[in-house]
Symmetry: C2
Subunit: 394 residues, 2 copies
DNA sequence: CTAAGTTTGTCTAGCGAATAAACTAAGATT
DNA sequence: AATCTTAGTTTATTCGCTAGACAAACTTAG
């Protein structure tokens, strides 16, 4: 018989309590030791000693005294947000968006590259160049670059290998290993919709929600699932392929091999194809929205039809997950004014009352930064986990 | 600011370690103290003292000495499975299945009632009578009836209120309160598919799986989700309404208000309606299977078509969740021989490789006992949780 | 049959981490 | 100025785990 389970001992207790104190300071800064004790339920003395360790590790700072509430004035504590920095990247089909954030998720610097050719070697060159430029900008700090995170439009395994990125034309790219080889810092590679979901949960529209579904509507459709407050990835990391959920069982064949997939009706690609058919030649979403805003009926109809199709899939989502919130993100956001009412109308008409009553439907609050901020959140979370002392086994 | 979080202290450590020891004994019985220490990673002395407490609480028993492996012979430990009993019930549309189980999930006694009239008052009378009969049978024990659990074909809130049971014609029935009022023991009311999923996970086909989707195919379709090893219920408990997932966007209207719902194509109801159309008057699933087994082409075709429709929805499930296992349960199991190959064929043809490669597709191993055993598992788990000492807050 | 080695299970001492309570510090209130 | 309040530190105590010693009970080898 093999040793199998996590045992519980005082090391674990300390680790968890320390993380709790750190998280409390991060979330409520500036805050005094006394308030931390009250919020967490820990004893004042315990908090004092944990805080002193966190100060030693430069993870937090004292920031002068606060206001008295009738007695001695408190010493306020802050997260030392510049103790380290993340490099967080949204790798898209024809652009890369890269940011440097501090440990609080504040964007220190931002940079975008546009390109046409999606060949792996070429994109990697752009990526290296972008990362190298961001690295130069990062100020000196205690922990330096705590991680590089990349969100990609494709299927990513739990091990950070891109299995398939159809819109880039990539297969089996071990991006995590490639980047680690080059930069020797912790690397996280994650699906773009998963990252977007997490970004909206941590910094965006979903800060109050634990059950959140993020629908990334762009060229294709990807969905990120936050269930019970955590990103849900499935057995191998391939969950959330709702773009390839059949909504028309005898519909046309999708390139994925399935039939009548949602993204054949409700993606940017399908929108632009429909537009082409009725005379909008080579149009972009932006142009269609512009036309719609100028009152062009054909454009308005196109967008509303798209919203209706989106509503069909989102109704399914409500029935499947009973989420607290559904967030619509990625490039389609530009058309929010026209699609959101159509989505709501479809849900209102079709969804089961219990499942639609308490749900909030929102546009991504971080705009085109959902993915990049999700990657930042992954990086930061992973860094703080690594600062917990290792448990020494016997 | 309010006290908000669980703090970690040595009471929690002890509670968790004790639960770990108990669970290890439950899962590996008969087992010696030494082996428990090895398996859990806890110190021998710690195990000894926790075991002695568990013995005092009559939750476990010593059962004589085991075989020596070259030294002193071990004292084997067993779960005291008869320290208490559960009453677990599957409340169906025209029958009630009730069982008494011990704490290991062994069925001690079983009883079924059939009826035609689904009026609440009448069904409750049957239910009371059944429970009363089961109570009489339960032997004297340390903890007595540790809980009554009822699985119902309907939408159940987190608070155990039946919001709607369409096939029973019930609305807003606070069954949990009603039963507690009468029996004064812990009551659990849960959706039938959720219970079935849990039953298969704990005692059935899914014992090795942490990501399991259980599709209960009967008059309607309900789905239970085991994600990350736990039952996933969504924000209010209404997840898993995959029966009302649109698979034909312009399909006929469902009584739920949506269009082209999966259960309009792939449920027992739809099967029997189709059968009626081609001359099987007033047939049952059983009769159709009988006909198919006798080589009647029309019956075979009907069942295969049903399997094909099921395959469409299950393909969606694979894309949405990337599960480890999909289990088909409830009354449709009788037709497994004909529908399973059709389901597999559809998945093979339509599902994305990544999502179908590692998935296991199975028929419920507990047959028509999935729900009842799930309720037993809920009861037992809830009982063991309640035996953990309370953490005294300061 | 005996001596040596092995395994099980208990016991004791010690350690780490949390708590309670006393204490110091520094303000507000009357 | 005297007293009350609140913040933060220090000390003593408690609790649960671990290590290691030890006794009991068994196997194995000569």
């Amino acid at each position: 018989m093999n040793k199998v389970s996590q045992t519980w001992n005082q090391h674990v207790v300390k680790k968890e309590n320390k993380a709790l104190v750190l998280h409390t300071i991060k979330a409520n800064a500036p805050i005094s030791r006394a308030s931390v004790a009250q919020v967490t339920g820990l004893n004042k003395g315990t908090v004092s000693s944990l805080v002193s360790e966190l100060l030693d590790e430069k993870l937090i700072n004292e920031s002068g005294t606060g206001k008295s509430s009738g007695g001695r004035r408190p010493v306020m504590l802050l997260l030392n947000e510049t103790a380290g920095f993340t490099i967080s990247i949204d790798l898209g089909v024809n652009h890369i968006l890269g940011v440097v954030t501090d440990l609080q998720g504040n964007i220190i610097h931002e940079r975008t590259v546009q390109f046409k050719n999606d060949d792996l070697e070429i994109v990697l060159t752009h990526l290296y160049q972008l990362i190298d430029e961001l690295i130069i900008i990062i100020p000196e700090s205690e922990y330096g670059i705590v991680g590089i995170g990349v969100g990609v439009p494709g299927v990513v395994t739990l091990e950070g290998e891109i299995q398939l990125a159809p819109n880039l034309g990539w297969k089996k790219v071990a991006l995590k290993d490639i980047l680690f080889e080059r930069y020797r810092v912790p690397i996280i590679v994650e699906n773009e919709a998963n990252a977007g979901a997490y970004g909206e949960k941590v910094y965006g529209a979903g800060m109050e929600s634990t059950e959140l579904v993020y629908a990334s509507i762009s060229f294709g459709i990807g969905v990120g699932l936050i269930l019970d407050g955590k990103l849900y990835k499935g057995l191998r990391g391939f969950s959330g392929e709702l773009g390839h959920m059949t909504i028309e069982k005898d519909g046309p064949e999708c390139r994925c091999g399935n039939k009548g997939c949602w993204e054949l009706y409700a993606s940017e690609k399908s929108l632009l194809e429909e537009a082409e058919k009725i005379g909008f030649e080579n149009a972009s979403v932006e142009q269609l929205v512009f036309a719609a805003e100028n009152g062009e009926a054909k454009a308005i109809q196109l967008l509303e039809k798209l919203g209706d199709y989106l509503g069909i899939g989102i109704t399914n989502i409500l029935h499947i997950f009973n989420p607290e919130q559904v967030v619509i993100g990625n490039t389609i956001q530009q058309a929010a004014k026209f699609i959101m009412p159509a989505i709501e109308k479809r849900i209102e008409k079709n969804a089961i009352g219990f499942n639609k009553n308490d749900v909030k439907l929102n546009v991504a609050k971080l705009n085109n930064h959902s993915t990049v901020m999700g990657m930042a959140a992954f990086n930061i979370e992973s860094f703080f986990k690594s600062t917990d002392k290792e448990i020494i086994p016997t």
